[in-house]
């Protein structure tokens, strides 16, 4: 039973990360119908921001200010910088192609992904940068229930993931900006005719989605310790899968999809074998698509006749 709970904790933690990245994917798809393949690379940039914050304050073993303050700066700075980077990408790479055939922004997104990956390679080099989280957040600061270990970083990731997901859900459903986002997602032209500033709404969506990816990048750095220019690829792929399973364009769908993929990965690895994890995860994706082509929370598109 302890093994079951350990795998559950591992799965939910990883799933929370996937969910945060998937949210950005889903939000951007919702408003622009664009598969933003550069989204995983924004997560990578966020992880680098967190790493450099640790270095600026003296490195993991000798932080010059209290750990909670460093963590706060890491998360806020990653969210703001990566959010702004997302807005810049939208402004200069996607907006000029908004009315182009859908393949054009898709290819541009792939191009942006490679651009970011290789820019990071040139700027930061190929070597892995290590957070060394255990040097400033001890493993012993977590919870031990029987033989189930939940360390402080896992607890923080779970709590922050939950807060951010609930916060985003409230923002989309209860605020004026959320209403504007839903209106643009539903019918951009109609929203514009109703006086909604579409450009601002799309930029705000990119900011929020990218900021979440930035925060997830810092969380990944704290959890998995290492950062390099290629970490965005797998994260982006898993988040995309999560978004599709949940129903791309749906905020609760992305959350559920992320958690499902994380937990499924963990249990497949634990109870079957890591050799079959990807095979079964993508098998699950195919099964969901066959059963519900729009994903668990997706709605079928209405066609005007």
């Amino acid at each position: 039973m302890a093994f079951f709970f350990q795998e559950l904790v591992n799965g939910v933690t990883t799933g929370a990360l996937y969910a945060l990245v998937a949210l950005g994917f889903s939000m951007v798809y919702g408003v622009l119908k664009l598969l933003n393949f550069a989204h995983g690379d924004l997560y990578m940039v966020g992880a680098f921001v967190g790493y450099f914050v640790i270095q600026w304050f003296g490195g993991p073993a000798a932080l010059s200010i209290p750990v909670p303050v460093v963590l706060l700066i890491m998360f806020v700075l990653a969210a703001v910088l990566v959010g702004l980077l997302g807005v810049a990408i939208e402004r200069f790479a996607y907006r000029p192609l908004r009315d182009a055939p859908r393949i054009a922004p898709l290819i541009t997104a792939i191009g942006i992904s490679f651009f970011l990956e290789n820019a990071a390679l040139l700027l930061f080099g190929a070597q892995y940068r290590v957070y060394n989280t255990s040097e400033f957040i001890s493993f012993s600061s977590g919870i031990q229930i029987g033989s189930v270990s939940i360390d402080a970083v896992q607890i923080m990731v779970l709590a922050m993931g939950l807060v951010l997901m609930v916060g985003l859900r409230l923002l989309v459903s209860r605020t004026k900006l959320g209403k504007q986002m839903r209106a643009v997602a539903s019918d951009r032209e109609a929203a514009e005719m109703l006086g909604i500033n579409v450009n601002f709404t799309i930029a705000a969506t990119f900011f929020l989605g990218s900021a979440l990816a930035g925060v997830a990048g810092v969380m990944a750095g704290l959890l998995f310790n290492q950062v390099t220019n290629t970490i965005g690829f797998v994260a982006g792929l898993k988040a995309f899968t999560a978004a599709v399973v949940g129903g791309i364009g749906s905020v609760p769908g992305a959350m559920l999809g992320g958690l499902l993929i994380g937990i499924a990965e963990s249990f497949i690895t634990g109870y079957i074998s890591s050799t079959y994890t990807n095979l079964l995860i993508f098998g699950l994706l195919i099964a969901v698509m066959l059963g519900r082509p729009t994903g668990l929370f997706g709605r079928p598109q209405l066609r005007k006749v």
């Binding site: 892995y128 360390d151 998995f224 634990g270 050799t275």
Partner: protein, 382 residues
């Protein structure tokens, strides 16, 4: 009609003259090229991608060897870089570029066994020597790729050596092996697993891509009976994370890694073991000047760079010997000189000469244990 005849005769005359001129300049070129000894070699490695750290180290040591050898031999050999990303398809593209570039007479690399398998036939077709500093799969030197050479030993030596060391040192009842889904890793596992099974050890064989950084679910499967976790991986920081996950879940298994995990400063889990195809040249007195130059220029390095230095040096010396003999360093001349390589010593602290299959004669592996300060200590018997 008469005009056409004059034009045809003029054209024919021009062609004959051009042919003579070409022949004359070609003859001059032979001696000039031999005297100047100006040519190019290719370098294939994972310069970007998930294992770019290793590829960049290999590139640095290739450049270092080339600069040293050019100065010593008064040659003018230039290096053409090719980024394979440890991907056989990408390696094929790079190799096609190299083989169609007539200026390139030999190649250092590629890094991975799976890449050698992809490009071996392409190099064989143009009779071009390629020397790897890290491809260790045993099947590569069984005659399939006649122009392939390596300056390191092979998995069929490493796998049994490591497995027997684990059995005799830890006497495990159960162990876990986690391959990284690449030919290098699975090749080593298939050399080790039967030895463990014959010894009656329960083996939990797992598999995970090195693009993944979350190992918590696999670590949860490490039981109290699991004495050793074998990680034949190529990304040291992943092993470091694996070690952290073990500590986080209060598991006491010892990590036993191979080649790619030799990375002081990155993989520092105390009590772990690393077996490597390359020695730690910082402990070889004769290499002190190379170590000093490399450290000053590029910073810290592991075991992937020095074998590429050795491979580049073999190629450089082969080209220089062809030139000294007054011949043009063509691909055929260079491969003949590479086959005849007989260096009494090398940066790796051992002589370099090749078997007929391209293997290093008397190649061996080196075993290190990491102490509590993160230092790698050579186990003398290895």
């Amino acid at each position: 009609m008469k005009a056409y005849g004059i034009i045809a005769a003029t054209a024919l005359g021009a062609l004959v003259l051009a042919g003579c001129g070409s022949s004359a300049s070609s003859n001059n070129g032979v001696s000039a090229a031999a005297a100047k000894c100006a040519t190019s070699i290719g370098m294939e490695g994972p310069l970007t991608g998930p294992v770019a750290t290793l590829g960049q180290e290999q590139l640095h040591f290739a450049e270092l060897a080339l600069a040293t050898d050019n100065a010593a031999n008064k040659t003018h050999i230039t290096l053409v870089q090719g980024d394979t990303q440890l991907n056989p398809a990408q390696a094929t593209t790079v190799t096609q570029q190299f083989t169609s570039n007539s200026a390139i007479v030999g190649v250092v690399g590629p890094a991975g066994s799976q890449e050698v398998e992809a490009v071996g036939p392409l190099f064989a077709r143009v009779d071009m020597a390629f020397i790897s500093g890290s491809a260790t799969n045993a099947t590569l030197t069984q005659g399939k790729y006649p122009t392939f050479f390596r300056v390191v030993s092979k998995d069929s030596v490493q796998g049994p050596q490591d497995a027997n060391y684990i059995i005799s040192t830890f006497h495990p009842k159960a162990l876990m092996i986690v391959d990284d889904q690449e030919a290098y890793s699975t090749g080593l596992v298939s050399a080790m697993a039967p030895i463990f099974q014959q010894a009656g050890i329960k083996v939990d064989h797992e598999s995970v891509s090195q693009k993944v950084t979350d190992f918590s679910s696999i670590v949860a499967k490490v039981t109290s009976a699991t004495t050793v976790v074998v990680l034949p991986w190529q990304v040291a920081s992943n092993a470091q994370q694996f070690g952290r996950d073990l500590a986080q879940q209060h598991k006491n298994a010892v990590i036993f890694g191979t080649d790619g995990l030799f990375s002081p400063g990155t993989f520092t889990i105390a009590g772990s073991y690393v077996s490597s195809f390359g020695p730690d040249i910082t402990g070889i007195p004769a290499d002190s000047s190379i170590v000093a130059t490399a450290t000053a220029k590029y910073g810290k390095f592991g075991t992937f760079g020095p074998p590429v230095y050795a491979a580049t040096h073999v190629l450089d010396e082969a080209i220089a010997s062809v030139c000294k003999a007054g011949h043009v360093p063509t691909r055929a001349n260079v491969i003949a000189a590479v086959k005849a390589t007989n260096e009494p010593t090398s940066i790796l602290g051992q002589p370099i000469s090749f078997t007929s299959g391209g293997d290093l004669n008397n190649g061996k592996f080196f075993l290190f244990k990491i102490d509590s300060t993160g230092k790698y200590n050579l186990i003398p018997s290895s």
